[in-house]
């Protein structure tokens, strides 16, 4: 009998796979991103509109006549969250562009995927970073604003007819954070450079916005509004909160379908790009 069969011993294996395997990836990436002072400054700056809205509610409660020029109702939350889309884009550019690109460049994805993780866990871990960042400037201030509105102006907000505001804040924040997060990750997976990925992501949003503007001005076609992902997100927010948007509007289902299609495309890209070994044919 060969010697190796006598010395062979079974390793004391842990449970097959842990339930929340993606969490260490999210935690470590957040720790690294939040260690950058410039990023913290950006995150803090993202809360300035929240302060402005709190002041707005306070002023209207103290001086009700100010409500004529600064109306305080359910639309305030829609306008606030639509403003916050810009900050989710900035956070995704500066915090999300390198999430996968850097792992591809350094080869770290190889050691990640040699651990007891699936590729889905890896993507979930990275997406968790963007969701945490984006929700921290949409959902958290949105709900806090609603709580402050209830406390400061109960006569305006403590009504059954306005109880939809809380769920609408949750839904809009989730749609914005998920769509922007998935797109940012997909773009990050297409490059091995965080800088290129960041520029690509910014270019995608700005470029589509410019194309939409040109086509809308030149031809006045309503469906071209769908080209801009930011306009799609704003349109959904406007529909949810009853905010009147400038220019002709489309049924909410159209931008929702575009965002769903873009998100599915992002998942397809991530599925093909996130692998331990880059296949060069």
């Amino acid at each position: 009998m060969p010697i190796y069969e006598q010395t062979y011993r079974r390793y004391e294996a842990r449970e097959p796979l842990r339930a929340v395997r993606f969490w260490p990836i999210t935690r470590e990436a957040l720790r690294i991103i939040l260690a950058r002072r410039a990023f913290l400054a950006l995150l803090a700056g993202s809360w300035i509109p929240f302060i402005v809205r709190v002041v707005q509610i306070y002023v209207v409660t103290r001086f009700p006549e100010a409500g004529r020029i600064l109306p305080v109702d359910g639309r305030l939350f829609g306008e606030f969250l639509n403003q916050q889309i810009v900050f989710t884009l900035l956070l995704s550019i500066f915090g999300g562009a390198g999430l996968i690109a850097n792992d591809l460049r350094t080869g770290a994805i190889l050691v990640y995927l040699s651990r007891p993780l699936t590729r889905r866990d890896y993507v979930l871990g990275k997406l968790g970073v963007l969701l945490a960042l984006n929700l921290s400037v949409t959902l958290v201030p949105g709900l806090l604003l609603y709580a402050l509105a209830l406390a400061l102006a109960p006569e305006l907000f403590l009504k059954w007819s306005l109880a939809w505001i809380g769920p609408a804040v949750v839904l809009h924040s989730a749609v914005v954070s998920l769509s922007v997060g998935l797109l940012s990750l997909a773009v990050s997976s297409l490059s091995r450079s965080a800088r290129v990925a960041g520029l690509g992501f910014a270019g995608l949003f700005l470029g589509l916005e410019v194309v939409r503007g040109i086509l809308a001005q030149g031809f006045g076609l309503r469906p071209v509004a769908l080209l801009s992902l930011r306009a799609d997100l704003r349109a959904l927010g406007a529909a949810l909160f009853g905010v009147a948007e400038r220019g002709p509007s489309l049924p909410w289902s159209w931008p929702a379908a575009v965002l769903l299609a873009v998100s599915l495309l992002c998942l397809v890209i991530l599925r093909s790009r996130v692998r331990a070994v880059e296949i060069v044919s």
Binding site: T7, P24, A108, R115
Partner: protein, 307 residues
């Protein structure tokens, strides 16, 4: 009936039209197995298939009785040290290992203990709080090795683990690999340098053009190689004093200086004796890198292919 820790059953892997591994059937037992072949032979593809990082285009690769591809649960028991650099340079060595240990499922206290123990094994404990970006090539190799052993895997796949290391750390890593084999772990270590593999194990797999050419005792290959001079390149702080010491060693056939002045290239008929004798002179002359080009191994492969 015991299951072999690693099994390839008619496994092939193509990259587009290029075949990297061709119809390989082999069982790897516990202990150290050397995967020996020239550059481009398919060693890295073999190890990536074994470590479940690539799917076979055809056939099957089984780790501890389960398919290597798509079975991440088995990775608790597997360590993989890739040939390429694979880390975040902004992290310290300790942080890098701790992140990977958290992913394996250890708690904070255990992560720290295991990370420090692994860094100690590869003589990097003193540099644990330095950023990896500031590590030398040899230190990077060692931190990569440390991440692969920190969770005490049952199977260990090491792709060219001593490449670029100085003689002292090369010896340390060779001893570590041998010890792991003695402990009953299954270690597959790739190299294109015969004496490196020979220092770790007597069991080798010879791979060439994606096929397993031979499997067995390293001494048989050694006998084939004895007729070929062996080339060793050394990078030293003081190449002239190194040359002076080396030229006196027995079995040194010739010696030359590299174009940049830091490299000394030696031809020897007895590489084992040479490596044993050169350590003292290497330390005195500040040798920072030592490697062996694979021309001699190529000639053995040519011989085996032609047979």
């Amino acid at each position: 009936m015991s299951v072999a820790p690693l099994e390839f059953v008619r496994a092939s892997r193509w990259y587009g039209p290029v075949i990297a591994l061709n119809d390989v059937t082999v069982e790897i037992p516990p202990g150290v197995t050397g995967l020996l072949g020239p550059n481009g032979a398919g060693k890295s593809t073999f190890l990536k298939l074994a470590a479940g990082q690539l799917s076979p285009s055809q056939g099957e690769v089984r780790l501890l009785g389960v398919p290597a591809w798509g079975s991440p649960a088995v990775f608790h028991r597997v360590g993989f040290c890739p040939e390429v650099d694979a880390f975040w340079e902004g992290l310290t060595g300790l942080e890098f290992l701790m992140i990977l240990l958290r992913l394996t499922g250890f708690d904070e206290r255990e992560c720290r203990e295991r990370a420090e123990k692994a860094l100690q094994e590869v003589a990097l404990l003193d540099a644990k709080d330095r950023k990896i970006g500031g590590y030398s090539k040899g230190m990077r190799q060692r931190v990569k090795l440390a991440q692969s052993i920190a969770h005490e895997p049952e199977l260990l796949f090491l792709d060219e683990p001593v490449s670029g290391m100085d003689p002292v750390n090369r010896r340390r890593v060779i001893d570590l690999v041998k010890r792991m084999g003695r402990e009953g772990r299954t270690v597959v270590v790739s190299s294109h340098i015969l004496h490196e593999v020979e220092a770790m194990t007597r069991r080798v797999l010879l791979i060439h053009n994606g096929r397993i050419l031979a499997e067995g005792d390293v001494r048989e290959i050694r006998d084939l190689m004895d007729e070929h001079p062996h080339t060793v390149a050394l990078r030293a702080r003081d190449p002239r004093s190194l040359a002076e010491a080396v030229v006196r060693l027995p079995h040194v056939l010739s010696l030359s200086f590299g174009p940049e002045g830091e490299w000394v290239t030696v031809q020897t008929a007895k590489p084992d004796e040479f490596y044993g004798a050169v350590s003292g002179a290497a330390i005195e002359a500040g040798v920072s890198e030592m490697y062996s080009p694979d021309e001699d191994l190529e000639s053995v492969f040519k011989y085996l292919v032609a047979r």
